[in-house]
Chain length 560, copies 2
């Protein structure tokens, strides 16, 4: 069975003019800013009208997943498919996705626009520069960095300790050589020598800020609150002390406007923001989610990685800060991924193994329980692959039904909305029922350390937390400085409930080791680093870039 | 007398929808890609139609200037004003400008969209991200850099000498700390340690390539021909050896499409490409100039810095490569700048000083002679400032008339097209006359060293060239390798005909010292570095960024 590639399907999509897609959301042509004929940004006027109009009208549906494996789960594909499915059954639904990062397109991860017949288009443009949001974030981030070193160069009136500058630079590129660099070499005219490094743009606090800010005022306030480093007496120096916040906000003005594109089935999708789900919160922007909720009856969105990382942060950080509450949650799994969670190696996935599927369901089950702890109703969406057998699928459905959770076998990848109608009907009804009673996992006034412990015990099922010696002291200092009410953003491997990427399934008997904490005062959370975190990826031996090319017709080929 | 600021004038401009501006050039709505309602790119279809249609129909008018001084000359302002003036007298004229660099907007240079009533709009958007072209160039440049270090990391099959890697990285930012850096610190996982640096994006060879490429095929071929470094045996390693050219071209696909905006008087302007006029050739893109020439009867364009750098490169590099030939040249001067060339300090510019003006005219006169050496007719455009006196203006006009060159006193800065009609009438007639008989200053088959000498003697009026010892050897090697037919791109201070920025006016008795040469094999020229060249600016003590902010209405303020 030979399928066309994702980029072929995307290229052959019958796209509607973006003004027609905007009209589906009730937007007039003057309320959107076109970027070509198939992309647009919501104009400032449209956003102001939304706020003036009183906000939410739609139901919010979160799509999350089991722990990811190399087998593939299909979270984005299911998000797009469910949006198309809801529209296919006559609902007015919009989709909210994150923007893909440019760097991984040239490495090995590929893009992030869905797949098969459940994609947003134009696939190539969205995966590359799109409307320039990430470039604007890089520029704003690096302007602040340049102003820091410039401040040192001209006399350091703020008395910043050059050894304690925490603000690094960013590039939207996989470039391991930039992880750790020495800058300012070459003599006095080039400033002071110091050690620093580059992260990938999606790891920037500016990215997290853009995704959490309610409007331009909130954006500028948060940018000003960024801590760039510390003085000798450990007191923080803020971006506003360098007077960088205004210019950074000016650079981000257009990037703050959500992007509108369409699915292959011509349904509206807002694709906006894309922070890492490990060191940041991994969700699309608050401004896009709220705009969508004001214009559609159902809004389907996703959160990064598995539910232990993505959904937890979506609920404890994004929903808490923005006052959002989901009406239903879809937990995505694939039989292949459950098998790997049940102990099967990737090379053996083609062989039927019902016992392994059943064993892997422990991972699924724990995520189901976790979502229930937030007071939210859950549905399981099984993303069907060609190699799955009926016996394997039946085993998962039986597992879910035994726990009172409906499970659906979806074929939207191959069939588009026709392959996910049953789940769409169920999810719409579930969201309408009012069964959700959302409560974050912890209150604002719980201590920072206690918040980390709460997530570790309740979500990861750890026996406890092991803090590096200075971490507890650091958390106590921040509480004394007034940052104690912030939520925590735990940076942990996405492959396991534990901090050990090799422990699949539903591990127990583990402890969460926290080696370092970072204060993202502008984004409004405290990052707790558990294990190794990669904030700048590298390219593989054979980068995907080598195969990317322009066809004779000027089309981009080789993206996946 | 209080004038509104440039950004206030720009903000209050009565912009027409960009589709109406496009219609002025005969473009249908489907032939342009809108970026918002006031910017667009020419679509691939429009560019193909232009090529199929046989190309040039319009007259090409080059605007250049005397050597720049801190007093201001007004080259961009005159380019925009002349375009508006030609339209005001009933001609169908288009303007071709370079895109401003983001970095200097936050330093002290400000933007580059003209000034007063001779501006292109939207001023803030053009000066900041515009349509993302420079970001795309940065990404393509840095992808190649990442692929080079990645190649070393995975075994260096091409046997590249890590000490002889010439390809650096770029950021569109003024950041002196990045001029010289050590990368790959932190252990084996981060690659090999080596010394390298960052240039500002406008200094990238990718920028020069984008501006000289005829189409996407030519772009990809040129990108592949970039030399990234050398082996131990001195043989070059090309970007195509790393298989980076396809992905780089894919990143640049949209950036290759010229941008369309409008003047305050609603006339069409293509703003596309912006290479440095010192280490690169400093002109807008060939693709934009040719597109404009196919759609308008008169095309007004500018070249960077004074005529010794900008016009020389426009004529010897851009026109040579692209097969273009100007029909007339406008040489811009201001009385203030002539006074500084005549020995007056900036603080004394407000005092009438006819003798100094007359002395400074030596600079103007030499540029007039130089332009004649290319077989081109020249007109002097004096950009009137409020402090100029009539006696000073009369002195300049008399100087020009004595040499048979018409000179016009223009007030487009204050009055728009009404202030430049007389010069517009004259230039249109001059261009129509067929008086131009363009010949480059040297033939392709002159040796590389002889080409440098020809420019030094004929244009700079140097007594000769002093080559550093290895330079002559290097040039001979390149000739042996087949690069001898390339034109030369001399990197020299813009403030003087000589390599000494302090020698204003029309210095004689100097020698051009060439300390280093670089082969830009993709762009297609050999760079000869004479004196210190800054490829990464720094921010001043008080960066302009500190004053940039968003107003309550969400408008950008503080740009200049």
């Amino acid at each position: 069975m030979s399928h066309p590639s994702d980029i072929e399907i995307a290229r052959n999509a019958h796209k509607k003019p973006i003004a027609e897609v905007a009209a589906r959301l009730g937007l007039r042509p003057d309320q959107v800013l076109p970027y070509g004929h198939d992309k647009a940004k919501l104009g400032a006027g449209a956003l102001a009208a939304r706020r003036a109009g009183g906000g939410q009208r739609g139901r919010l549906i979160l799509v999350t997943a089991i722990n990811p494996t190399p087998a593939g789960e299909g979270k984005t594909t299911t998000t797009v498919g469910l949006g198309d499915g809801l529209n296919a059954i006559g609902k007015n639904a919009a989709i909210c996705l994150r923007e893909p990062s440019l760097g991984p397109c040239f490495g090995m991860k590929g893009g992030a626009t869905g797949g098969g017949r459940a994609q947003v288009v134009p696939m190539d443009a969205i995966n590359l520069h799109f409307t320039g949001d990430f470039h604007a974030i890089s520029a704003a981030h690096n302007l602040l960095a340049a102003m820091i070193d410039n401040h040192l160069h001209w006399g350091n009136a703020l008395d910043l300790d050059p050894r304690r500058i925490t603000w690094r630079r960013v590039l939207d590129m996989n470039d391991r050589s930039l992880r750790q660099v020495a800058t300012g070499l070459g003599g006095a005219a080039n400033g002071f020598v110091r050690e620093t490094g580059f992260d990938i743009t999606v790891a920037s606090e500016v990215m997290a800020i853009l995704c959490l800010a309610e409007d331009l005022d909130d954006l500028e306030r948060r940018l000003g609150a960024i801590i760039v480093g510390y003085r000798r007496d450990q007191s923080p120096v803020f971006a506003r002390d360098l007077k960088a916040d205004g210019a950074m906000a000016a650079l981000l003005k257009e990037a703050m406007q959500p992007n509108l594109v369409q699915t292959i089935e011509n349904n509206p999708a807002l694709v906006h923001g894309g922070p890492f789900a490990n060191i940041a919160h991994g969700c699309n922007s608050v401004i896009a989610t709220k705009a969508a909720l004001s214009m559609a009856d159902y809004v389907v969105t996703e959160a990064g990685f598995g539910a232990d990382l993505g959904a937890e942060k979506f609920l404890n950080i994004k929903c808490r800060q923005a006052g959002l509450a989901p009406d239903a949650v879809v937990l995505v799994a694939s039989i292949r991924a459950l098998k790997m969670n049940g102990g099967v190696a990737k090379g053996d996935l083609g062989v039927e193994n019902v016992a392994a599927v059943e064993a892997g369901c422990a991972n699924l089950g724990r995520h189901m329980e976790n979502i229930a702890k937030f007071g939210l109703p859950v549905v399981v969406g099984l993303n069907r692959f060609a190699t799955d057998t009926d016996a394997e699928a039946d085993a998962v459905i039986a597992y879910c039904e035994a726990r009172g959770v409906p499970a659906f076998l979806n074929t939207h990848w191959a069939e588009g909305s026709a392959g996910i109608r049953a789940m769409a009907e169920h999810v719409a009804a579930l969201a309408d029922q009012g069964a959700a009673n959302f409560t974050p996992l912890y209150a604002d006034d719980l201590g920072l350390q206690a918040k980390i412990e709460r997530v570790a015990r309740e979500i990861y099922r750890a026996d406890g937390v092991a803090l590096a010696p200075r971490v507890a002291r650091q958390l106590a200092d921040w509480e004394a400085q007034g940052h104690g009410r912030l939520p925590v953003c735990i940076a942990k491997t996405q492959y396991s409930f534990s901090a050990d990427p090799g422990r699949l399934g539903a591990p127990t008997g583990h402890t969460l080791p926290v080696r370092e904490v970072r204060l993202a005062a502008g984004a409004g959370f405290v990052v707790a680093l558990a294990g190794d975190i990669m904030t700048m990826p590298g390219l593989p031996r054979q980068p995907a870039a080598e195969a990317i090319t322009l066809t004779d017709a000027g089309e981009i080929d080789g993206l996946f």
